[in-house]
């Protein structure tokens, strides 16, 4: 750099330390925020005027009133005499019921199909590709309506299909044999869960010991003891019975067993198959992202295929898989709101009925937003925790 050109004198600043750039920045911020505030104020004043003209009082006081809406299929005990608040709780439970089970099933199915797409068997990988392409390119709502129509076209309860003994498929939905669970059974299940946690803790200790001295210590006898034998012993000691309740056809309907209503079943199938197509692609690209050298190295070590997948390939693939998987889980949860199209009463559907009955539009929408934001944050939080656990530990 030459030094013979004299430096220009510093530019005179208009407002002390504030330069042109800062002033410009301030100007833009004031402008944008001003416009946003003006729009919000305009909408707000209109809303207040309109609400008072319609004699609707804002606030959440309506939640204590009697809802009077029927909810056919619910996990919680509900009658139309209950309050709006309870109706919302039932809606949230219905949303969670379809979302949680849907996420689990979609993950399993999607992983299987993603692995199938990489299969050495040409036919299997082509079939998986056709599955993925077809389901991804048709709107979910259309698929949902299609499944629902198929459900309704099933035979009546009397002529129900019986794919397996004790399982009935009819226009009343899917009826499965169930094991009734009450307080004593819950205690035993709790013991099994506690055994699982204990096993996990002890296994970590065993692995740490193996790391130190290199001697393998098999953990499976402990697993059998803690997770199976302990609850079994408890059942025998306290006389807790585990009876399978078989559904039976009495008159025009079924008695006993577990009933998945056609609306729920159609929604579950639609969400699971649609999301599994996306998950399959994520799993495929995750596995493909593991460098070929890792497979070769695992082969060179003489690992069996199962061990190779579990110890070498999957831990590396998961790093690529988990972040996009989170957004698929969120999508599935948000998509469960399509339930309103076939009359399954999830939280959006309950809020919509509330809105029509009471006119409390803002509150109903605010509740929907609160519920979904909470669920989204919950899923993101869990997945971020899991992602941090499996992330590559670098220097």
């Amino acid at each position: 750099m030459t030094t013979d050109t004299p430096r220009p004198p510093p530019r005179r600043r208009l407002f002390g330390a504030w330069g042109r750039r800062e002033l410009q920045g301030l100007f833009w911020q004031v402008l944008v925020v001003g416009i946003a505030l003006a729009v919000i104020a305009f909408l707000w004043s209109n809303t207040v005027t309109n609400l008072s003209a319609r004699r609707i009082t804002t606030g959440f006081a309506f939640l204590g009133r009697e809802a009077g809406m029927p909810i056919a299929d619910s996990l919680l005990v509900y009658s139309p005499r209950d309050t709006y608040l309870w109706a919302f709780a039932v809606g949230v439970a219905n949303t969670l019921r379809v979302a949680v089970i849907g996420i689990v099933l979609a993950t399993i199915l999607g992983t299987l199909i993603g692995i199938s797409r990489l299969s050495a068997n040409w036919l299997l990988s082509r079939l998986a590709a056709v599955y993925v392409e077809t389901l991804r390119d048709i709107p979910l709502l259309l698929q949902l309506l299609f499944w629902y129509v198929l459900m309704q076209a099933l035979p009546a309860a009397r002529a129900a299909w019986r794919p397996v003994e004790g399982v009935f498929l009819s226009n009343r939905g899917l009826i499965l044999p169930a094991i009734p669970v009450a307080a004593p059974q819950l205690w035993v299940l709790g013991a099994a869960a506690l055994g699982g946690v204990l096993f996990y803790v002890i296994r970590r200790g065993l692995i740490a010991q193996q790391m130190r001295d290199g001697r393998p210590r098999p953990a499976w006898p402990l697993a059998v003891g803690l997770i199976l034998a302990l609850p079994a012993l408890m059942s025998v000691l306290f006389g807790v019975t585990w009876k399978i309740e078989w559904p039976e056809l009495r008159g025009f309907n079924f008695v006993g067993g577990l009933t998945l209503a056609p609306e729920y079943f159609a929604l579950l199938i639609a969400l699971v198959t649609y999301t599994s197509a996306f998950i399959a692609e994520i799993v495929r690209s995750g596995i493909q992202s593991v460098p070929r050298g890792q497979w070769d190295a695992a082969n060179a070590l003489g690992l069996r295929r199962g061990l190779m997948l579990r110890q070498i390939i999957l831990p590396q693939a998961l790093r690529v898989i988990v972040p996009p998987m989170t957004s698929q889980y969120l999508n599935l949860t948000k998509n469960s709101s399509l339930a309103v199209a076939i009359g399954y009463q999830d939280v959006v559907s309950v809020a919509n009925t509330t809105l029509n009955q009471t006119g409390q539009a803002i509150e109903a929408i605010a509740l929907i937003m609160a519920v979904f934001l909470t669920i989204s944050l919950g899923i993101s939080f869990f997945m971020n925790w899991y992602n941090a656990r499996i992330a590559l530990v670098e220097r």
């Binding site: 068997n121 040409w122 392409e133 077809t134 048709i138 199209a341």
Partner: protein
């Protein structure tokens, strides 16, 4: 570019000699490489044969293809055994164009063709120039004239008579055409150094992405009258369109932000060193590179939107899916909804599959 010539090729591993019939060899490596694989192939073939056979039985062999006008008795006779494709020739005008005046339906048909031509031209790399924006504006104006009419001797058709495929294409295309610039602005806002603008952008994106589209559409259909001064109201289709634009803007903003993050810092600094203003810097240097990086995910977002427009069914706007659902309300044809849904699914599939193939080819060429 000068080629490096004096580096010898790595010696190619000699391939094992190929023996036997190539077709048999292909079967052996791809279908029967091991015993479990062979069993799997046989089982899959058996299942596939059964599924294909029963579909051919239902969909082709026992199907009814044509019936006299509005007479579904032939279809009823084979219900459960054969498909009733006759419902498609019976109802296709309604499914495709809704309640648009029957004699004027060449106008929406022409609009659909214009849309397809517009999409096709937009995929040609040779046409990625400033003129493309003019082409879009021209085509969208022409489509508006065709659909509304009222000029050049075309009868006026108000938008509550619009329906079917043109409405789906309008919602998707206008959603994109307006959502894209909005997305760029919001993405820039989210990366801005100005705290107020940044937090406003973050709030907007997270709010829209945090809730289902269904609830936003409800809001548009139910709450909009509450938001506006009394007596002021806009058409339901336009309200849904605005929601789709806002929705598209938030999702596209996140994709574009990914592209902005991929532009190396040196590019920004070089633009600053040239003394370009904020807007010229982004218009001339940063955005062209950023968008090129994210073309494949952008196309995937477009596919998602195209499918998501079907959600307007829930607030009763006559898009392609709603007209299909309405067509089977007719008691004579009520039982043949599966056939109609398959027909509509095929239409959606053709559009989405074309886009996804295109996205695949872009990924293969690296967006260049």
């Amino acid at each position: 570019m000068t080629a490096i010539t004096d580096i010898p090729d790595a010696p190619r591993a000699a391939r094992p000699p190929q023996i036997g019939n190539p077709a048999l060899r292909w079967l052996r490596t791809n279908l029967f490489s091991s015993i479990p694989n062979g069993i799997l192939t046989v089982v899959l073939l058996a299942v596939l044969a059964k599924v294909v056979f029963s579909f051919v039985q239902w969909g082709i062999a026992h199907a009814i293809w044509l019936t006299p006008a509005n007479d579904s008795s032939a279809c009823r006779a084979v219900r459960g055994i054969g498909a009733c494709w006759a419902i498609i020739p019976e109802k296709y005008r309604f499914i495709l164009f809704g309640t648009y005046p029957f004699d004027e339906q060449w106008r929406p048909a022409l609009s659909v063709l214009l849309f397809i031509a517009l999409f096709y031209l937009s995929t040609r790399r040779a046409l990625w120039r400033r003129e493309l924006a003019l082409l879009w504006i021209g085509a969208l104006v022409l489509i508006s004239v065709l659909m509304w009419g009222g000029v050049f001797g075309l009868a006026f058709v108000s938008q509550d008579r619009w329906g079917g495929l043109p409405v789906t294409l309008i919602l998707a295309t206008f959603g994109l055409a307006f959502g894209f610039p909005l997305g760029i602005l919001v993405a820039l806002g989210r990366r801005s150094k100005l705290p107020a603008i940044r937090s406003l952008s973050v709030f907007y994106v997270e709010l829209i992405r945090g809730v289902p589209l269904v609830s936003l559409l409800f809001m548009a259909s139910v709450m909009f009258p509450l938001f506006m001064p009394s007596g002021f109201n806009i058409d339901k289709l336009l309200r849904a369109q605005i929601v789709i634009i806002l929705f598209a803007g938030a999702y596209l903003a996140e994709v574009i932000r990914g592209g902005l993050q991929a532009v190396p810092r040196g590019q920004y600094e070089a633009a600053d060193a040239l003394g370009l203003s904020y807007w010229s810097k982004h218009r001339l240097i940063v955005l062209p590179q950023a968008i090129r990086h994210v073309i494949p995910p952008l196309v995937n977002t477009f596919i998602a939107f195209f499918k998501d427009t079907s959600l307007v069914l829930i607030i009763g706007i006559f898009d392609l899916l709603t007209t299909a659902k309405t067509a089977i309300i007719d008691p004579a044809w009520q039982q043949f909804s599966v056939e109609v849904y398959i027909f509509v699914a095929a239409i959606y599939f053709v559009f989405c599959f074309a886009m996804s193939r295109y996205s695949r080819s872009l990924e293969a060429t690296g967006g260049r």
